[in-house]
């Protein structure tokens, strides 16, 4: 049984009474099992924490949050890799797994609604769904706490990953100093630069 099937069957058999922490625990075990397997038989593994499928969802969502326009987007600057690093090495394990739980529950919600999950949803529908989720979460109206947690984190990490990247600083903020925050040189009218 692969991990997705395992999760599916877990979700199928779990009643609404199942506690989030228990689910997180089971998710965690499944994830550990999966990663251990991956370590042993997949030499081309790219991500430290995310599975290939999770990474796909994370990159799809982060690119919707910060798309490529006249400047690079989230995927161009490696936001998924940054989020993976943070989940693997920065957050406590329980928080990283709660993030994954939120991601899964959200994907399941979309599957129930559209009969296909986010990775198969059209660009247009995906954007509409993430726009709706963003509005709900940012106004604290999302009822599922793991989804609330997951989306707040992915939005925050997408912005950090993007604006503190080389291209985000150079092309988006037009800034070459050491700190990415608090500099707005590009927006200022020409010749108006002044030190304050």
């Amino acid at each position: 049984m692969d991990r997705r099937q395992l999760i599916k069957s877990l979700l199928a058999t779990s009643s609404l009474a199942m506690s989030p922490s228990l689910l997180a625990q089971m998710t965690m075990n499944a994830h550990k099992h999966h990663m251990a397997q991956k370590d042993s038989d997949d030499k081309t593994r790219t991500f430290k924490f995310l599975s290939k499928n999770e990474a796909h969802l994370v990159s799809k969502i982060s690119e919707i949050i910060i798309p490529r326009t006249d400047t690079p987007g989230a995927n161009d600057v490696g936001v998924t890799e940054f989020i993976d690093l943070m989940l693997a090495d920065w957050y406590d394990d329980k928080d990283s797994w709660y993030f994954i739980e939120g991601l899964r529950r959200y994907d399941r919600r979309l599957t129930q609604k559209h009969y296909r999950n986010l990775s198969l949803l059209s660009a247009e529908k995906s954007k509409a769904e993430i726009t709706l989720l963003d509005s709900q979460v940012m106004q604290n109206k999302e009822e599922e706490p793991s989804i609330q947690y997951f989306y707040k984190r992915i939005k925050e990490l997408t912005l950090i990953g993007f604006y503190t990247s080389e291209q985000g600083m150079e092309n988006e903020l037009n800034y070459s100093g050491p700190i990415a925050e608090f500099n707005f040189g590009k927006s200022g009218p020409p010749g108006s630069f002044t030190r304050y």
């Binding site: 090495d89 106004q139 988006e172 903020l173 100093g177 050491p178 700190i179 925050e181 500099n183 030190r195």
Partner: protein, 561 residues
């Protein structure tokens, strides 16, 4: 002169140690400066200076899990982050204990230059009122000096340090030798105008700071890169490395020893003098004794106190120089974390390039002309105006190209005002040795017992309401107040423990920072403070140090010590 014999020994190389070494060597004394930490050379060892966020592994968010293991206390301070963590100690190697219900936060930097590398560079003179405070309200032993006595020494150190700021702002900010001030930004100007109109007795000015705005003593002015606490190889802010150490080295009289942990002071019972110090090499654990005619302790307030406690002799069984019994008592830190913030719309803002390395200050206005009913002494408010940056995007509704476009422009102007208040010197707030715990070098550690008093609590309430009323009067909106609990020590302005005073029965040091019991031993760091004022203390340590060296060298030449 044998290898380990000197005219003077200085323990510590931070702000006061650097000053002591400079003054002693310039007066011709062969001086040994001992630093417990590693050597830090400007440029070469400022390993993160000008490093850009994309090049940090965690993009500036720091190696959180490693910090939890190595620096759970150090990482509490905002100065500690991915770009500066190497200038803070390892907490496991340098433990201390505190009363169960009274946390104390002790932030330390063990390297050449100490905390002069990552301090916030605020430099204010204390006022006549500050030096009179203990005598006036009778809450503690009077200072043995007044403003007039220290004034020429403020002039002296300011001329060397190079301090930028605005003169003639308020009687509560005595001014001296100042370089041109940095400019207020749009939100700060708006607040200043509002305050001038509605609270004429209160003043707002740009922070007075040891950062150059013009070339000074061979050092270039600030280049506004905004990463001061990582070290400045240009030397545009005052640190041991940029200022006092080069001066001391130029004399040819300085010997510098790093990785040298002073274990204890060697005391001669027959002459009542300190004859030298015992040093443990932090790397090899080898013990060496160094000897000198005078000893200056500049190890930081509580490290100096700890050293005296750990230098027990048959005569001073409770710690060297502690015949009064007040060693370790009357410890203080400033009280902060309370204030308000608000937004302001409609400012025709200018775009800027660069980072001003400071905020603003509103000098003390309480208990100046009239008495406040709820508390004695006073506080200042600090703060900064800024336009919100791209990170605001993660707090608001919106995604996609619209969000991207929006975040190219700066957000609304925000202004924050936060108090920093005087802490009363109280006997019960103290440090003592915990004989059951030792550090990585086997030296007994300190135990802290300190808490805020009702005076500090009452002051916090007033900080919040006055911050709120000034923002409101100046037209700021969406005002939020905040009151974040802080532990003593967290402001990193630790003071007291070996206070100055005229009465040897009630103080450790006299008016010249000279130990009452051991006349050739001087302590010129924060330990010597008899009260805390609400002003940042470093400039006063510098003035006291230069003054004490002048006195010590004269006494030495007269044969009195």
């Amino acid at each position: 002169m044998k290898d380990n014999h000197f005219d003077a020994i200085v323990v510590g190389s931070g702000i006061t140690g650097g000053w002591a070494a400079k003054e002693l060597t310039e007066k011709g004394l062969k001086t040994l400066m001992l630093e417990r930490g590693r050597n830090v050379e400007p440029g070469k060892d400022y390993v993160t200076e000008h490093k850009r966020e994309p090049d940090f592994h965690f993009r500036g968010k720091g190696d959180r899990k490693r910090f939890q293991h190595d620096q759970p206390i150090q990482s509490i301070t905002g100065q500690h982050n991915e770009s500066t963590h190497h200038f803070f100690i390892n907490d496991r190697d340098n433990p201390y204990t505190n009363d169960k219900d009274k946390p104390f936060v002790w932030i330390r930097g063990h390297q050449l230059g100490g905390r002069s590398l990552m301090w916030t560079r605020q430099t204010y003179r204390w006022t006549e009122r500050d030096f009179n405070a203990n005598a006036e309200d009778g809450l503690a032993e009077p200072w043995p000096i007044n403003y007039k006595e220290i004034e020429p020494w403020y002039d002296y150190v300011e001329k060397f340090v190079g301090i930028s700021g605005e003169a003639n702002v308020s009687d509560e900010l005595p001014h001296g030798q100042l370089l041109p001030p940095m400019e207020l930004n749009a939100a700060e100007k708006k607040l200043r105008a509002g305050i001038n109109q509605h609270f004429p007795e209160r003043k707002l000015t740009v922070a007075r700071q040891a950062v150059l705005t013009a070339p000074h003593n061979g050092r270039p002015p600030c280049h506004y890169c905004g990463t001061c606490a990582r070290g400045c190889s240009a030397g545009s802010y005052f640190s041991t490395q940029s200022s006092t150490l080069p001066a001391a080295k130029r004399t040819g009289n300085l010997t510098l020893a790093t990785n040298s942990i002073v274990h204890s002071i060697i005391f001669d019972e027959s002459t009542d003098k300190a004859t030298g110090v015992r040093v443990i090499d932090s790397e090899t654990r080898e013990v060496t004794e160094y000897f000198s005619k005078i000893v200056f302790l500049c190890a930081s307030a509580f490290e100096s106190v700890r050293l005296l406690f750990n230098s027990k002799t048959p005569r001073f069984s409770d710690g060297l120089g502690n015949s009064s019994g007040v060693l370790g008592h009357y410890i203080m830190d400033h009280n902060f974390g309370a204030g308000a913030r608000g937004h302001v719309e409609g400012i025709d803002s200018r775009y800027f390039n660069g980072h001003r390395p400071c905020g603003i200050v509103i000098p003390r206005f309480r208990n100046v002309k009239s008495k406040h009913p709820d508390f004695v002494r006073g506080y200042q408010l600090g703060g900064q105006g800024r336009q919100l940056g791209w990170s605001r995007g993660s707090q608001q509704v919106g995604i996609g190209s619209e969000l991207k476009q929006q975040l190219r422009d700066p957000g609304v102007w925000q202004m924050r005002l936060s108090g920093a208040g005087e802490c009363l010197p109280r006997y019960e707030n103290h440090v003592r040795i915990n004989p059951d715990v030792t550090d990585a070098w086997g030296i007994p550690v300190l135990h802290f017992s300190a808490d805020w008093s009702s005076n500090e609590t009452a002051m916090r309430k007033d900080m919040i309401s006055s911050a709120e009323e000034m923002l409101d009067a100046a037209g700021f909106t969406d005002i939020e107040t905040y009151d974040t609990p802080v532990a003593p020590g967290q402001y990193i302005h630790e003071m007291g423990g070996a206070r100055m005073g005229s009465d040897p029965k009630k103080s450790v040091l006299n008016a010249y920072n000279q130990c009452h019991d051991v006349p050739n031993l001087f302590i010129t760091d924060g330990a010597s403070m008899a009260s805390s004022s609400n002003q940042n203390p470093s400039l006063t340590y510098m003035a006291l140090t230069a003054r004490a060296v002048n006195y010590a060298v004269n006494e030495l030449r007269r044969g009195n010590i």
